[in-house]
């Protein structure tokens, strides 16, 4: 007999993994686009065709993230309506501990990001403060989710 709790947890981890991989790839692509964009600009090359391809891939990746987030939400709703699943997965004390522990790497990553930008700005000027703020949020939340996933999947 398939255990419903185990099956749901496995599904949950699968969706976490999918969303994290898609999110990570989207972020890497954005950074690469930003770096190559400035190089293309410097040598006055036409970056438009590559830009369109990168943008399309990025949109697909972000839609993939959205797909997994919706799947996770539906799983959460399903677990909430089932008393056994709710107690095992939502009120799970080990998961709550992992959530608390995951704040530490998230905080470190969020604090380290502006310093990393400060270092980069010594070789390549960065004037976009919004980019720094958004990157800090993205890297902080990425560190939180990755840490939680790794702890849960250990």
């Amino acid at each position: 007999m398939t255990n419903l709790i185990e099956e749901t947890e496995r599904q949950q981890l699968k969706y976490w993994k999918g969303s994290l991989i898609a999110w990570f790839l989207a972020m890497v692509l954005l950074i690469v686009r930003h770096l190559f964009g400035s190089v293309f600009k410097e040598y006055e090359l036409n970056s438009r065709p590559i830009g369109i391809v990168v943008l399309t891939v990025n949109v697909i990746l972000l839609l993939t993230v959205l797909f997994f987030v919706v799947k996770l939400y539906l799983l959460f709703v399903r677990a909430k309506s089932d008393p056994q699943l709710k107690e095992a997965l939502i009120d799970n004390e080990l998961s709550k501990l992992y959530i608390l522990q995951s704040w530490k790497p998230a905080f470190i990553a969020a604090v380290a990001t502006p310093f990393a930008f400060l270092l980069i700005s010594s070789v390549h000027p960065i004037n976009d403060l919004l980019l720094v703020a958004l990157s800090t949020c993205a890297i902080g939340s990425g560190a939180f989710l990755t840490s939680f996933y790794l702890k849960s999947n250990k």
């Binding site: 185990e6 947890e9 095992a88 799970n92």
Partner: protein, 75 residues
């Protein structure tokens, strides 16, 4: 100060009842991973979970969990 650890006989009682980690997890409404981390001593369960575990094995909670180091309460 000694390290805060707790010994448990979860594996012994589980073997006595011939239950898998998954079966025990289902009985106390937690995930198999929770049972695994408690069994290995990596995680000290809450009083609520400890009492639930003791209840499914029908033993007093102190028979299932004991302080690892010598604990002498201060007067």
């Amino acid at each position: 100060m000694s390290e805060r650890t707790i010994k448990n006989k979860l594996k012994v009682f589980r073997a006595m009842h011939d239950w898998t980690q998954e079966e025990l997890a289902r009985r106390v409404c937690v995930t198999r991973k929770t049972i695994n981390t408690v069994e290995k001593g990596k995680y000290i369960p809450s009083t609520y979970l400890a009492l639930k575990l003791a209840k499914v094995f029908q033993v007093p909670v102190e028979e299932l969990f004991q302080l690892d180091s010598e604990f002498i309460p201060e007067e």
